[in-house]
Symmetry: C2
Subunit: 314 residues, 2 copies
């Protein structure tokens, strides 16, 4: 295969933004906008694997699981809710994208969504310290009752209320990686690793159920490295990563070597936001990738032309 | 590829039976039993595509969608619920099967679940006459109120209560067929067409939203024909199709030509149960398939050895 392979991670807020109606119609409307740039990248000749967040969707599914209990439907565990959200979002993205591909004269290109599992180590230290908030908000009193009942951990999430937290272990391997690579080589556009993938752990050939959430950008990096992609592109709501973000002397980061980036990595970047993105971008180059991009949808094409966005190179 | 390709349809009641707890654990327990025979078939050297029903699961998801409305989460449409169930069941099946494959010394075989869409004609006459009951049961009074609000059709489902009915149009094409064929050729075990697939219709290159349920066995036949499978196997809870089923002179049907089967087709077989299975089995041979099998899990291996089950041939 001569064409370049790019693994693109789409932020969950591109599919559903805070405050928007949580309807199917709203999500489809957002996706028709969000995937326009992906279709342009395909038109440029890149082989594309698209990964995506699932925060708002899995949050809604978790609420619905709880609501259904009074109707006699037991709540399914988090890994199942994640799998559900992969089906849901995968189908919405392929619908939106194939329409755009048709408009662009590429009506024979197929967008295929693959249920994706991510292997983690069941002895990952993250399992001892859950950090990732999921699902509905509770009052402190409710959280205390829930904690006593389930032994789940609840934290005060940025003053907005109490939420359950789950571990966020390190992704080791994308179990469907080989299939994904083969499909994209043959011309399919692949949707995979939804919500960071469904975490699984192994013990003597059996799977151990894991309640965790994998960082989507980190899982995308693992996939991109595993299938030997050329470019890792993390699409978010800002055009660049910044030095001194939000301060008077903030400065956008353009093209930068990973050596330079590593020098400023510790002091800069918001935890749980830009930091994991930059970390994944660095790791991809360290693992042999050619180019890592962090940028907004508007700047993605120019970033591929080396004219915009944060671009990490060796 | 020299090995034979078999498309196997697994009944939804193999995943969750009536009266059982609707938990994840129960479904996994059932699947570990139900997929044992599939793993044996893989061990015999067949290339396998597994399709499955989703009745109980999508029924539960529909109830949860309604329950979540009071918590501010709008109900997602039926196609999205179907997509969710494909993620859910696909993940459960691949987990159960890869464990069995590992036990059988085939730990490098990968089971991959693909979100599958099925093309239907938006002018299919079925859209004028919805027949397929879905979701929760209502009283007659509730059904009348719901009908007035939504214009949806409700019927008395076998005296058990009132349920919404949706159209069951004819499946024309599996949109992911080419990818599925390629993956199974390369040695993947593929899970696809969950719940009969997510129905989509096209109009001028755009997708039209479709509220419908596709018959799983018929959709499996379309896939089997499309990817040039050798064998269509429909796994259900009886060992054979029967002539005069349930009567004193009932007689099991073994090996039979489609000409003979077509002669008895109209007078025999329960609508919505054995009839669509036999119809799909006939159609597969008419469309060029070598062998259609209808049988139980216990008899599936012997059926492949031409020793048990209902076997349709040219």
């Amino acid at each position: 295969m001569t064409k370049k392979l790019v693994a693109i991670a789409l932020g969950g807020n591109m599919i559903l933004q805070k405050g928007q109606p949580k309807t199917y119609e709203q999500q489809m409307e957002n996706l028709r906008v969000a995937t326009e740039v992906i279709v342009k990248i395909i038109k440029m000749g890149y082989g594309v694997i698209l990964t995506h967040g699932n925060g708002p969707q899995v949050g809604n599914i978790l609420v619905q699981q709880q609501s259904g209990v009074t109707e006699g439907i037991p709540a399914q565990p988090l890994n199942i809710c994640g799998a559900m959200s992969q089906g849901q979002i995968g189908f919405m993205i392929q619908t939106a994208m194939e329409e755009l591909l048709h408009e662009e004269g590429m009506k024979d290109r197929r967008v295929v969504a693959i249920v994706t599992r991510v292997l983690v180590d069941s002895s990952d230290p993250a399992f001892k310290e859950p950090t990732k908030p999921i699902g509905p908000f509770y009052t402190e009193e409710e959280a205390i009752v829930l904690h006593k009942k389930s032994r789940d951990t609840y934290i005060n999430d940025a003053g907005r209320g109490f939420r359950k937290v789950v571990p966020s272990p390190i992704p080791l391997e994308i179990l469907e990686g080989k299939t994904i690579r083969r499909c994209v080589e043959e011309g399919d556009i692949i949707i995979a690793v939804g919500g960071g993938g469904i975490p699984v752990a192994r013990k003597n050939g059996q799977f151990v159920d894991v309640e965790a959430v994998i960082d989507k950008d980190r899982a995308t990096e693992v996939l991109a490295t595993q299938i030997d992609a050329d470019i890792l592109m993390i699409i978010t709501d800002v055009s660049n990563a910044y030095v001194n973000f939000g301060k008077p002397d903030q400065k956008s980061i353009g093209k930068i070597t990973i050596e330079e980036m590593k020098k400023i990595f510790d002091g800069q970047f918001a935890k749980g936001s830009m930091k994991p993105k930059v970390g994944s971008a660095i790791r991809f180059i360290e693992n042999g990738g050619t180019l890592s991009i962090i940028t907004s949808p508007e700047n993605a094409i120019d970033a591929l032309k080396d004219k915009a966005g944060t671009r990490l190179v060796q």
